[in-house]
Symmetry: C2
Subunit: 137 residues, 2 copies
Amino acid sequence: MALPVTPALTTDCVVLDAAGRVLLIRRGNPPFQGQYALPGGFVDVGETVEDACRRELKEETGLTVGALKLIGVYSDPKRDPRGHTCSVAFLAHVDAAEPKAGDDAAAAAWVKVWRGETLAFDHAQILHDAERLAAAD
Amino acid sequence: MALPVTPALTTDCVVLDAAGRVLLIRRGNPPFQGQYALPGGFVDVGETVEDACRRELKEETGLTVGALKLIGVYSDPKRDPRGHTCSVAFLAHVDAAEPKAGDDAAAAAWVKVWRGETLAFDHAQILHDAERLAAAD
């Protein structure tokens, strides 16, 4: 049985360190090239969203994390100019680590004050929701 | 820009009534034809997962519900024999309503004791998670 065409499935990861900083990349490719974004990407057929989240985080920043906590699911048809994507966003914590940019990321860094930055996609909304979730822990 | 092929996006809805019963359908088509399942189905390109959840619930049971609460995201590559699907599951409550089977549903009914039943897909796991979420409210 062939599966119907649906929105494309993506995942994004909000990683916070012990100082409350968030791990962001600079996008190396369009759309939003050069802007800050959360590490993430498309889910491959045959992998879970959690595995995809860890894979993309590793590819783009070199980091590995422990437990992933579901933040939310973001499926506004206009969230991605390439077409309809749906992102499953996760929260993770690390004590300290030095990110190393790779794959689609032109740079990767810990950012203390992200509210003054222009973030790609709906990543500002995801970060807001992540901080609320982290505060409730 | 063409989007890559990813797992197909689906949604399922756990509806509980005031008596703690859960709304289940009997599947009218393969896979799991004739078995109990949660109302749900594939997300269309151009609609949010929340809108898809309400649409499928309406099509299969005739019911409309208020707030949807995210239960979880289920993306095991083996969860659906047709191919890799990822379901975003939501919880909703209704005081009382008479379901009316339609679309893919051969029947729709309130079920008090679902644990003795064989449920399609990973819907038993979704129901377990939904009841834990509902108890924590």
